[in-house]
Every structure is written in C-alpha cells, then in structure tokens.
C-alpha cells in the first residue's frame, strides 16, 4: 500500500513537471528566440534586399495600351534555420518572425516555412507551420479565423496581404494541402484540436495585395484559359 502511494505521488509529480515544462518552460524558450529573431530579422531583410535580383518584366499576350508592364519580383531562398519574414494576423493578435525550415529545432523558435514550397509572396502555395499549444503557441488562436480575414507577411520584396479563403481540418498525413495552387497562396498549418497532434488545422489564404499580385493574377488567368 505504501509502495503504491509513493508510486502514485511520484507519477503525479512527473506529470506535473511535464505540464510545467511543456506549457511554461517551452514558452520561455520560444519567447527568447523570437526576441533575438526580431533583431536578426532587421539585418536579414536589409541584407536580402541588397541581394535581390532585378524584377523580371513579363510579356503579356494582349497588353492594354495604358497599363504598366507586369513585373515579377523574385527573392532567393533563405538559408534553413534563419529568420526571413514576419507574419502578422491582426484579428488574433499574432506577430511572429518566420524561420526557414520545419524541423523540430526550427519550429521551437517560431513558425517555419516549408522550404520545398514557394516563399510567401511568390506564385504557388507557400506553406508555414507552427506550434499550437507549446513553444510560444504562435498559432494558438488560428481556429478563430474565418473566410475573409487578413493575413500579412513581410519578406525582402515587400508586404504580401492574403485573405482567408478556405479552412480545413485534415489528417497529419494529408500532404495534398501543400500541393501547388494556381495564383499565389499562403497555407498555414497547425495541430488540432488544441493539446493534441491528432489532426491538422489548415488555413488557405489567397494573395490580394503585394508586389507580385498582378503577376499572380496573370498566371491565374492563363490557368483558367488553359
């Protein structure tokens, strides 16, 4: 009986320590990383802006005589593990530095961009993943977003504004959510429900403002016309 009592007490302490570590200590780790990353991002953005190639001028098939030529702004892929963008979602008071990469270590520092998808602001489907309940819980309130809400991402080429178009809850293995999409999209993924990694909450948003909006629209038109 005494042994059982001791075992239960120790088990309880272990669970308590686990919860304190996951829900409190990991937040402190992420908070410190984000503070450092905010400082580093300023330098990173300055450096990246200096290294940007000139925008490509895109030939339109039937240009309007009065319209300006369409320019396509590209930016080189950042080194994995480095901060390269800032994501802001005013509705849920999210303001976080985004890192390149989605490995365990990178996601402990903040939301991470899947490096095999296009960068935010580029045509296609840029995917950013983030923790929901631990490590600063950047995407804790992602479930409060509804169709039409704004998501802003600043990268070296400028500010890209997206509007939420679709919200899905999928299995963690549903990789189709990262598939390329016509136009320019930003997909946010996180664990669902809160305190469980059983599913993924996925927010699809489409570019509505930004340096590459006209180019993305042109690509979309071409896709529709076949």
């Amino acid at each position: 009986m005494r042994v059982l009592g001791r075992t239960l007490v120790w088990s309880g302490l272990l669970v308590l320590a686990f919860l304190v570590y996951q829900l409190y200590v990991t937040d402190l780790v992420a908070e410190s990383s984000q503070e450092e990353a905010k400082v580093e991002l300023v330098t990173q953005l300055d450096d990246r802006r200096q290294d940007l190639p000139a925008p490509e001028v895109v030939q339109q098939e039937s240009p309007q005589p009065t319209s300006d030529p369409i320019q396509f702004y590209v930016e080189p892929l950042p080194e994995e593990g480095t901060p390269f963008a800032e994501i802001t979602i005013p509705k849920i008071e999210l303001d976080a530095v985004v890192f390149s990469g989605v490995d365990r270590q990178t996601l402990k520092e903040g939301p991470g961009h899947m490096p095999w998808t296009p960068l935010p602001g580029q045509p296609g489907n840029a995917v950013i993943s983030g923790h929901r309940t631990t490590y600063g819980r950047p995407f804790y309130r992602l479930d409060e977003l509804v169709v039409g809400d704004r998501v802003e991402v600043e990268t070296a080429i400028g500010l890209h504004v997206y509007e939420v178009r679709q919200i899905e809850v999928v299995k963690p293995t549903d990789v189709w959510v990262t598939d390329p999409r016509p136009g320019a999209w930003l997909t946010l993924t996180t664990c669902n429900p809160r305190f469980s990694a059983r599913q993924r909450l996925v927010i699809f948003s489409e570019l509505v403002e930004g340096p590459n909006l006209r180019y993305a629209d042109l690509l979309l038109q071409r896709e529709v016309q076949g």
């Binding site: 309940t133 819980r137 664990c191 469980s196």
Partner: protein
C-alpha cells in the same frame, strides 16, 4: 535518494560524484522523455 546514496560504493567524495552523474543522466533522460511526450500534445503542425 538516501538509500541509493548509501548503496553506492567507495568513499563519500566518490559517492557524491556518482550521485551527481546519476542525477544528470536522469535529468537528460527526463528531458528527452518530455520532448517525446510533448509531440503528442503538439508536434509543430507540420503536414506529411
């Protein structure tokens, strides 16, 4: 803890050193256990 300390071989200084090592190893193991179990709560939201 006291029983474990008493059961360790050698003089007191060596036993203290062994105890420090045991506690350090236990803490590292606990850290990895927490990290592994933490993935059940929140794995980072990556798909695939």
């Amino acid at each position: 803890m006291r029983k474990l300390f008493a059961a360790l071989p050698g003089p007191a200084a060596v036993r203290v050193l062994q105890m420090v090592l045991i506690v350090a190893v236990a803490l590292v193991a606990l850290f990895y256990l927490f990290e592994w179990a933490g993935d059940l709560l929140d794995s980072g939201g990556v798909v695939g």
